[in-house]
């Protein structure tokens, strides 16, 4: 019976605070739904057992983790906001004779109701949306799978359990808050005199320095592998810098404005500067959160969209022709056999072989320090030198591939620099000396272009004897880790995608048959990459990332929206009193409105502006990171980024408009 009473009371409270609780519940439902979808996707056997879905599953698990962590942070944040607003109410209940344990009971019921609605709503929405999401996912990854209407019981259980735990934690937190405070404190917690924030110059400077350093790293870092590592450093610095600048920097700047008497004592600036000082004190952290979330959304979505759109670029760079066959250490007499098998397989699959490129190359990793090139370098040599990759081919192959006829002596080489230093006169490879006879412009060997991580040089040597010599050096230097001499065939085949795949299978069979009965060491070892299959693989990979990017983008966007909403509402309650006083002292409602509007506008668009600055500065680094995925198309990335920013800004603006209305409703309410 008693429980019934508290339940009813809790219901009433929630209804009364609908303006606060509705968005909270909606957000919880939203995150719950998204979490369910992620968990269910990860566990969906129909999809996850598709070939190529291994990466997809990994990406989705990553998403699960992110949403999980996010749900905890986010629900706690909103809950603490709700508590702040409701303390007065609890104080009143207390004064009216409710003991703390009664308030506790009431809060327990409230949490139960909110939790039950959120979890049920989240699961329902998740189950309904699941099919749609799966369709989208299959569509963008190009996976084909038939599926019915499935409900993932373990998924639902996971979500329910997780959210139950989160809600219990918030309840415990709230109970503690009430336990700690006394009635008078609770009653007056809304109206404590706000102290003016102190200027924390040190923090502001730290923020500035962190941001400067992060930007510096983002712009200066050339090496993509380093970029990957430094990226996280830069991200941390940006987060740190953003928090410091929003909390301390903003106040320092505003106080400087205030010190300028001529500027400060103007009707337009007077109320807004002083108002902003307080606003920033209360909202700095929230705004920094919005800024970081926005940046994350923008980076994620624009990056993944670029990758997805650029899939063809990526695949074409790595696999210039339909078939890429790499034979490892193939003796000269067997090269013809390998090629013969390709032709046979193509014929049997009904394909015609089109343009073909073939060459033999030896790729070695070395540390280059000026003209000195070291294989298997020692620690000190590595520190002094620059890691790079040398691709060696013979003059004969060079002439055949490029059509450029040159003469070379035994100790002479031709060099083509893909990425690295030009201008050396000679190379000394582990003591073996070569004169550089000349630099050839662009040695356009297909398939060799996909190394962007390190510096790269193409070296043309006189003949196979010289190549053997170098091969011997590198085999001695690297032992088991030595490179093989690769015989590469790139061929275009005209026909259907399925035929190409069949041809690939057939070729593998032929190679196996060829190796039948031969000793292990003399097996013909070759690797076959079919562009079509690679494209599909990449599509799953990039599509999975895109899906995750957009999906998480949605989650973060939702959070941003909610934070903006709560900011507006809480500001509204606080500004209400100020608004009334100013009117009494002789400010017209219009002036008050204009002043508040300009402040609110500044405060809420500051994070967006800051996010755009972050994004601009991160652009060079992101570009280099995309290059790691073989996407080297800054224009594409720029267009994607700008489009994403545009769309985001519009959504942000709309949200601002809607929440501003809620704000003015509160401020304009008559007593």
């Amino acid at each position: 019976m008693n429980g019934f009473f508290y339940g009813k009371l809790a219901c009433g409270n929630l209804k009364k605070n609908g303006r606060l609780y509705l968005p909270y519940i909606l957000a919880a439902v939203g995150i719950g739904a998204m979490y369910y979808i992620m968990v269910a996707l990860t566990g969906d056997e129909g999809i996850m057992e598709m070939p190529g879905a291994v990466e997809l599953k990994m990406i989705m698990s990553l998403g699960c983790g992110v949403i999980m962590v996010f749900a905890v942070i986010f629900l706690f944040y909103t809950n603490s906001f709700l508590m702040k607003r409701r303390k007065k109410e609890f104080g009143l209940f207390h004064i009216l004779g409710m003991e703390k344990r009664h308030i506790g009971k009431m809060m327990f019921w409230e949490t139960c109701i909110v939790g039950a609605i959120s979890i049920a709503g989240g699961l329902l929405a998740g189950i309904i949306l699941y099919k749609l999401v799966v369709l989208v996912l299959l569509n963008i990854t190009g996976l084909e799978v038939s599926f019915g209407f499935r409900i993932s019981i373990p998924g639902a259980a996971t979500v329910a359990a997780c959210f139950a735990v989160i809600f219990i934690m918030t309840l415990l937190y709230n109970l503690r808050q009430v336990q700690k405070a006394n009635a008078i404190e609770l009653l007056h917690s809304g109206s404590q005199g706000e102290r003016e924030p102190k200027t924390r110059w040190l923090l502001a400077l730290v923020g500035l320095a962190a941001l400067g350093l992060a930007y510096g790293i983002a712009i200066v870092t050339e090496d993509p592998v380093g970029a990957m590592l430094l990226f996280f450093v830069a991200v941390l610095l940006v987060v740190l810098g953003t928090y410091c600048l929003f909390t301390a920097g903003s106040i320092a700047v505003l106080k400087m404005m205030r010190r300028n008497k001529g500027y400060y004592y103007k009707t337009k600036h007077f109320t807004s500067v002083s108002g902003m000082i307080y606003r920033m004190k209360q909202n700095a952290v929230g705004l920094a959160n919005i800024c970081i979330l926005s940046t994350m959304v923008l980076v994620m979505v624009s990056g993944t969209v670029s990758l997805y759109i650029g899939v063809n670029d990526i695949v074409n760079t790595r696999y210039p022709k339909d078939f890429s066959i790499t034979g490892y250490d193939v003796p000269d007499q067997e090269k013809a056999a390998l090629k013969e098998m390709l032709l046979q397989a193509a014929e049997e699959s009904g394909l015609t072989v089109g343009e073909t490129t073939e060459y033999t190359t030896l790729g070695i990793t070395a540390w280059k320090s000026g003209e000195n090139i070291k294989l298997a370098a020692s620690e000190t040599e590595r520190a002094e030198g620059e890691i790079c990759i040398f691709q060696l081919i013979t003059l004969e192959e060079y002439a055949r591939c490029s059509g450029d006829q040159q003469e070379l002596a035994e100790d002479e080489i031709l060099v083509s620099v893909r990425q690295g230093e030009e201008g050396d006169q000679a190379y000394s490879i582990n003591g073996l000396n070569f004169k550089i006879k000349g630099y050839v412009a662009d040695l356009d060997l297909e398939g060799l272009d996909n190394n962007v991580v390190f510096d790269g040089y193409f070296v043309v040597v006189k003949d196979n004897q010289v190549l053997d010599q170098i091969d011997k050096i590198q085999r001695e230097a690297y032992g088991d880790n030595a490179s093989t001499r690769n015989y590469c065939i790139y061929a275009d085949l005209s026909g259907e995608a399925q035929q190409k795949k069949d041809c690939g299978r057939r070729l593998e069979e032929l190679i196996e048959a060829y190796n039948q009965g031969k000793a292990e060491e003399s097996h013909l070892a070759a690797r076959l990459d079919i562009k079509e299959e690679q494209r599909e693989g990449f599509l799953i990979f990039c599509g999975g990332f895109l899906f995750l990017g957009v999906f998480l983008g949605f989650v973060f966007l939702m959070a941003t929206v909610l934070i903006i909403y709560y900011k507006q509402v809480s500001e509204g309650y606080e500004d209400k009193g100020r608004f009334e006083i100013m009117q009494k002292v002789g400010m017209s409602p219009k002036e008050v409105r204009a002043s508040i509007h300009s402040q609110v506008l500044k405060v809420f668009f500051l994070p967006l502006v800051m996010a755009c600055i972050h994004l601009t500065m991160a652009f060079p680094m992101l570009n280099r990171l995309l290059a790691l995925f073989n996407l080297r198309n800054p224009q594409l990335f720029a267009v994607c980024t700008i489009t994403c920013v545009g769309i985001f800004a519009v959504i942000y603006g709309i949200v601002f408009g809607i929440t501003a209305k809620a704000y003015y409703r509160i401020v304009g309410e008559q007593k």
């Binding site: 005199g193 706000e194 102290r195 003016e196 008497k261 001529g262 004592y265 103007k266 009707t267 007077f270 002083s274 108002g275 000082i277 307080y278 100020r578 006083i581 100013m582 009117q583 009494k584 002292v585 002789g586 400010m587 017209s588 409602p589 219009k590 002036e591």
Partner: protein, 256 residues
Amino acid sequence: MAILEVNNVKKVYTTRFGGNQVQALTDVSFSVEKGEYVAIMGESGSGKTTLLNILAALDKATSGLVLLNGKNLSTLRDSEVSAFRRENLGFVFQDFNLLDNFNIQDNIFLPLVLAGKNYNEMRVRLMPIAESLGIKGILGKYPYEVSGGQKQRAAVARALITNPQLILADEPTGALDSKAAESLLAQFQEINGAGQTILMVTHSTQAASRAKRVLFIKDGQVFHQLYKGSSTNEEMYQKISDTLTVITTGGKSREA
């Protein structure tokens, strides 16, 4: 010449639910001469606050006329109201109404800043006022750092700094302890002595006893008025008490 004339003012509110009509002011007429110090007394619900709101141009009378310096308040356009208030009226409120985010000096400057005055002029105007009110030392402090009495004196300074035609004070001693109230009332007398017209609405007999004239409002009408003349504060206090007794016990109207 009368600075303020109130003729047959009537105010009727319609309640939001049910549409009941509530008559807050039935028929109020009085006038205030330049340099006067008038107190308006009445019980809760007598219509004091409504009257003050109408005088402050925060609210409009249902019928009747309010003239401030010959200007009819009901003909003011909405866009003019705020500027008019700023230029002609100074306000002192029971709960001070200082803004927490400004220090005392900036709070006092607020109406001048709104009027677009420059900083040097504001300083020049502030100094003598701050001196006479004894708040020079706390100009840099924030409202939450000073006492109630100091806050109210800051609010008085804010009301004075625009050189208003009329100061409207709404229960100015209501939130002060007796010592602070006493000193504020002395301040008011001093200001009035310097020629400032003051209209004060109050509950407090102590406060009203300092005014040159006291109007009593009951049931939306001016019920009675008392002139201080040459009476001492104590004599005036006694007279007001007597009058209040008569009013609350339901005695008939008698002219003084």
